[in-house]
């Protein structure tokens, strides 16, 4: 004989199964969340400890680093001052080596420079030449140089040098600064 039941209810067995499923699912979820929290928490604590350690190390070396930086800045300022004082000589037009090089290039094979006196504005050269004509060529060549203005012959006299007869030529010129 069947039973006439007006409602279709969840059977107690099914209800119990669902209750157990709910309980187990909740416990499992809590366990997973706890595991994730513990794992992540430990990693976060480690990360925080490392950050703190790095910050402490940085704070320890900070004073030394700052002192070094200040000292280096002072050195740099001093070097910049020195560099500023020698900077004009770094340009070819003011460089004595450049002028000497130009003078040297005008010398031929048998003539050579005996002395060069260079002050702020004038230059005095003494050149030994084998012949007078050669001396004149050198003078005319030097006169063409734009760096030497108003080159004048100061003296020209024969002289014995290393048992040879040479012509000692003294010239004087004004240094032309600012010539490219």
């Amino acid at each position: 004989m069947k039973t006439i039941n007006f409602i279709t209810a969840l059977s107690p067995r099914r209800h119990k199964e669902l209750t157990r499923w709910y309980q187990l699912s909740t416990l499992l979820l809590i366990a997973i969340l706890a595991a994730i929290t513990i794992t992540t928490g430990r990693q976060y604590l480690l990360f925080a400890a490392l950050n703190k350690q790095v910050a402490q190390e940085t704070a320890t070396t900070f004073t030394t680093t700052m002192n070094n930086m200040h000292a280096l800045k002072l050195q740099e300022q001093e070097l910049e001052k020195k560099l500023a004082s020698i900077a004009p000589f770094a340009t070819p037009k003011n460089n004595p080596a450049h002028i000497l090089d130009l003078i040297h290039k005008t010398m031929s094979g048998s003539s050579f420079i005996e002395s060069v006196v260079l002050d702020k504005t004038t230059i005095t050269m003494v050149v030994l030449c084998a012949q007078t004509a050669q001396a004149m060529e050198i003078i005319s060549s030097l006169q063409k140089l734009p760096e030497l203005e108003g080159l004048t012959l100061q003296s020209l006299q024969p002289q014995q040098h290393a048992e040879q007869s040479v012509v000692r030529v003294m010239m004087k010129a004004t240094l032309q600064t600012g010539v490219a």
Binding site: T3, I4, N5, A9, P12
Partner: protein, 245 residues
């Protein structure tokens, strides 16, 4: 929401009978011996409430909130939680008929007088007649009335597992008490002897054998005997006890 508590081995039966609300709390009685293979139970709590005319008049429920209040008070008083609930109706809301039919195994289409309305209904074969016809028990309830009881269960947070008619519960109790000896022909004889009064199918002996009434429960046994039988029928027929014990 499902409860986290485990399923208890107890049943609450609610009987709505004309203007009365009867609530019983029944638990399996482990110490008692079985009767005809049936388990025995213990009545842990009982309450019979006469409903006011505003709530129930002429066997029709008008105010389910009153029922909810009474039920919740009973459950709260006895600290009953998550117990499965079986409800039996014996009201005008429920349509019950004994129908004679020439078809021994009819289907629902044969009872067209009930299928036309918005009823939830079913039928049950009872017994044959000498003239070749068969008697069926047909019962139904209007959809809106059924919805009211469902809403009552939801609002009172009841684990409603069965909603039967009182006669259905008694018929099931009769069948279960008869056990393997149940015969439809014997049911026919008994029914005809009692003028188809299902309430008189079983005597009070069944109650004494199947139900132990708690010592601290005061109950008017002669008045409540039919309801106790209905409660037993509910517990046994709604398939709750076997799964909860």
């Amino acid at each position: 929401m499902l409860s986290l508590r485990s399923w208890p081995s107890e049943v609450v039966t609610i009987i709505l009978h004309t203007d009365q609300l009867i609530i019983n709390w029944i638990k399996p009685h482990k110490k008692s011996s079985t009767y005809k293979g049936l388990p025995s139970f213990e009545l842990k709590a009982h309450q019979a409430i006469t409903l006011e005319t505003t709530a129930c008049n002429q066997a029709q429920i008008f105010n389910l909130t009153v029922l909810k209040t009474h039920i919740n008070t009973f459950l709260k008083t006895h600290k009953i939680k998550n117990a499965p609930v079986a409800m039996a109706l014996s009201m005008h809301d429920v349509i019950e008929q004994f129908v004679a039919s020439a078809i021994a195994t009819p289907d629902k289409n044969n009872f067209t007088f009930l299928s036309s309305g918005n009823l939830v209904w079913d039928y049950l074969y009872l017994y044959p007649h000498d003239d070749g016809t068969f008697t069926f028990y047909v019962c139904g309830i209007k959809q809106e009335q059924l919805l009211q009881y469902k809403l009552l269960a939801i609002s009172a947070n009841l684990q409603l597992k069965a909603l039967l008619t009182s006669r259905m519960a008694l018929l099931q109790l009769y069948r279960l008490v008869q056990g393997p000896a149940f015969r439809h022909s014997q049911l026919a004889v008994t029914m005809q002897r009692n003028n188809n009064n299902i309430d008189q199918l079983l005597g009070t002996e069944v109650i004494h054998r199947l139900l132990t009434i708690g010592k601290n429960i005061s109950i008017n046994f002669s008045q409540q005997a039919p309801h106790l039988r209905t409660s037993l029928g509910l517990v046994l027929s709604s398939d709750l006890y076997e799964r909860t014990s």
